[in-house]
Symmetry: C2
């Protein structure tokens, strides 16, 4: 059993290497490194509570300083812009520019190209199983889970296609529910009983 988890993590690392190599091939011609690509990809999927430098650092497991430098580069190249928050003036919001959105789409297209064939006929619960594993490990390490809004324990359905975030009280649009949230908490596994969802 100990060996299984180790082999899983080794597989994850090697898969990650492949993904990074692919990302690099797409990003390098634009003068970007894989890290920059990952930041842009995250920001294109993050919701309005989660598009700050701090959130980027936590998501990718980097320090603020490291992220800050990458953000400067991305802004200089015109792939994202900083927007001052209106309510809390400490906070800087990061929004991909149209050029940034284009690049994200290109990376998704060329990143998936060819790979999609390889992903056919894979076991049903692969995605769900991996997600579950990641959640648990991140909880063990005291890190945020960064799940999609819809799967959060604070996500409230109010009927007739209306939803609300129980943490902030704000209403949620359909598109919001698919985005990544920094405040995400798993539904069933708030406690450490590790019960299968």
């Amino acid at each position: 059993m100990d060996h299984d988890i180790l082999r899983l993590l080794d597989l994850a690392e090697r898969l990650g290497n492949l993904a990074e190599a692919r990302l690099k091939a797409v990003a390098l011609p634009h003068g970007l490194q894989p890290v920059h690509a990952r930041i842009l990809l995250y920001l294109s999927a993050a919701n309005r509570y989660s598009n700050t430098p701090q959130a980027v650092a936590e998501y990718l497991g980097l320090t603020k300083g490291t992220v800050s430098q990458s953000l400067i580069l991305l802004e200089d190249k015109g792939y994202l812009r900083r927007v001052a928050d209106t309510h809390d003036r400490r906070i800087v919001r990061l929004e991909p520019t149209p050029a940034g959105d284009d690049l994200v789409r290109e990376m998704q297209r060329r990143g998936a190209g060819g790979f999609a064939v390889a992903a056919r006929d894979l076991p049903e619960g692969l995605l769900a199983g991996l997600t579950q594993l990641l959640r648990r490990l991140q909880q063990l390490e005291g890190r945020r889970s960064f799940g999609v809004c819809r799967s959060c324990r604070h996500h409230l359905a109010e009927g007739r296609g209306r939803w609300r975030c129980g943490l902030t009280g704000e209403p949620l649009k359909a598109a919001d529910r698919r985005r990544i949230c920094r405040e995400h908490e798993s539904v069933a596994e708030g406690r450490d009983d590790a019960g299968a969802a």
Copy 2:
């Protein structure tokens, strides 16, 4: 479908990050970086055709130059030793010293510690599915698969607990069959064993 593979790769990267952080915590007190730890872990699992600097570089997706420097450090610290090959004197074999084996065991123990709980009750085919995916992607990228000997198309059973490698013609001991081989090729298409070992 396109999105599924992208989410899978994103999950893999994040899992890999966690694994690397854990590895770092174990390796740093010994004056080693995560990369050095991964090299040592690979060498402890590689078979006699696959314990060369070149193989390490291919397995981890690094260049020879990078690996060469890490090997110097690992040798200086006494965790591995270089052994000249008797038949082909260009080749240098890398073998963990007893101290290196100890460190590998410590990393396996402390790396799995705590994580093993998280791996309970995961879907059955998770390991096999990930292995299969990795094989296919590596084949697409023209990279070697580095599977375990037993799952290779060159692996021949001769009955009565005797096996042979169809590529080199050499007989295989039981322990050899569990090791990672650089010349590994998948059996047919897909039918890999994830090696419940």
